[in-house]
Symmetry: C2
Subunit: 207 residues, 2 copies
């Protein structure tokens, strides 16, 4: 079977706990790597180049766009943010499953340019639980919480464009579900071109 | 999540060992049931109605066709063979994953009328290994083996219409792969209509 890693695109409602799931997954298994974004904004105190982001000039970013070097990119508040293809490809070639935590619009774009990507949507078991978690954080104003829930309503429309929807009720179960989904995905024909072609070529001698 | 079982359509090259995989899967896990075919042919000595087949008259079979009661059916040598919908649906409702061992043409037909079915193709790791297994049985003439290998060549063209291709190198590994593929498939959006609709309805209150 092919040894190449899988590009794992993870989205989910704000409050679904996807950050925690990703961290735990990285802790438990060696075969995952986080995608590092490139940005044209300046590093904030404590941020490291090649760890938090690849920090580059506006010119370098635009040159990379022109060279078709991004899986996806966007501009927010005058700064560019994007996913560099080269970094992702190197990790995939090395057999790592590369995790990209991204919102729904970005995920759809990735699937278009990279059909072998695996799109996973993390959700709490119910809307009630989502509300409870957002309120339970105790760090956000009612207004922010209301905005996130409204956003969740909008995003729920796109849930079924994902390959898998995984419920985060119990963290460890969710992490195992994401892991087995990734393992199983290696056996989908779109990720087995090499194996299928080999088998066909070998069987031709019996034609 | 939905408690309904999954219709598991299993195909593979003759000699891939799919019969053994299915038997071992049934032995290890309670949640699988074999689909029982209906036929208009007479029972052979030792065959039991409701175990090996549902044995019915030609008239009854044709009535079932007219009532759209089959997932698929075909006529071989003057006898009908088919997969009755009612039996499959009852098992699925009871939460069983129903296994249907069927060749590639039948599998494609099932997927058309039953898009939530999960199509798994079992293959040996290489054509060489397939040849070795067919010869190793020691029960078939060279002519029959050549015919099976030619058939495998023809069938290899359809491998990528399956949802998953699972290599049967080591039996236990293969059985576990089929099982986790089935478990993971429960999280695909096409099998989560109920959950997705519920979530959307619940989130509407935050709109």
């Amino acid at each position: 079977m092919d040894k190449k890693g899988i590009l794992l695109v993870i989205s989910g409602f704000s409050g679904a706990g996807k950050g925690t799931v990703v961290n735990r997954l990285m802790e438990k298994y060696d075969e995952y790597a986080l995608s590092i974004s490139m940005t044209s904004r300046s590093p904030r105190p404590g941020e490291q180049d090649g760890v938090n982001y690849f920090f580059v000039s506006r010119e370098k970013f635009e040159k990379t766009i022109a060279e078709n070097g991004f899986l996806e990119y966007a501009e927010y508040c005058g700064n560019y943010y994007g996913t560099p293809k080269e970094f992702v490809n190197k990790q995939l070639e090395a057999g790592k499953n590369v995790i990209l935590e991204i919102e729904i619009q970005g995920a759809t774009n990735i699937k278009k340019v990279f059909p072998e990507s695996l799109l996973i949507f993390i959700t709490p078991p119910s809307a009630e639980e989502l509300e409870k978690r957002l309120k339970g954080r105790g760090t956000e104003t009612d207004e922010v919480i209301a905005k996130r829930l409204r956003r969740a309503y909008e995003e729920s429309d796109g849930m079924d464009t994902y390959d898998y929807i995984i419920v985060n009720d119990d963290l460890e179960t969710c992490v195992e579900d994401v892991h087995s989904t990734t393992m199983v995905a290696r056996n989908q024909p779109l990720r087995l071109h090499g194996f299928i072609e080999n088998m066909k070529t070998q069987l031709e001698m019996f034609k």
